[in-house]
């Protein structure tokens, strides 16, 4: 399986974008179904422009994409980028697991 690595800068943007409850909620909603920016904006207690900025941050991170439909912009969640972030976390967990298995080896050596 070929994994397309994200650049460090791209990775920063992905995690940064996920570090906000409103943005995480936008990702959830746009993964669930296509939503326009104004529909999103109606849900949060902040200005339209603020929501627009959150969507822009998510778009730059690759967590959502926008397509024009008439005068609306439809926002779609991008599961691939989520998966990239997940793979990075998995690689961290693997480091831990390798450490544990090294420790097991050490202990079984000890026992002989």
């Amino acid at each position: 399986m070929v994994v397309y690595e994200l650049s460090e800068e791209q990775t920063n943007k992905v995690f940064r974008a996920l570090a906000d409850a409103t943005r995480r909620d936008i990702v959830r909603r746009t993964l669930h179904a296509e939503v326009s920016i104004s529909e999103l904006a109606a849900s949060y207690d902040m200005s339209f422009a603020a929501v627009q900025k959150h969507v822009a941050a998510l778009e730059v991170a690759g967590l959502v994409s926008k397509i024009a439909r008439g005068r609306e912009r439809i926002v779609r969640g991008q599961p691939d980028t989520i998966r990239h972030a997940q793979e990075l976390l998995t690689s961290l967990e693997d480091i831990w697991r390798q450490r544990i298995s090294r420790l097991d080896d050490f202990l079984s050596d000890e026992a002989t």
Copy 2:
């Protein structure tokens, strides 16, 4: 399986902490083996105090813990918190998968 949910604020801190290449590297190294703060500081092109702040951000997020050993502070990666973040990303992916399966249902209804 009981999953201990992180608060929104705690989740913000975890992702925020991961949104920096130096901090991700510190997590990698401290998951691999125990390292003192000064050992960490020697690796990065910034002041000791700056590295100390990065470690503090990771500690507040629950991604590392510190224990005193003599005059040193040993930093340990905390795989549990990594797993919490991973579970959140998995729940996002699940939302996507449910959408796909709804779409499949729709298409098979269409076919009948």
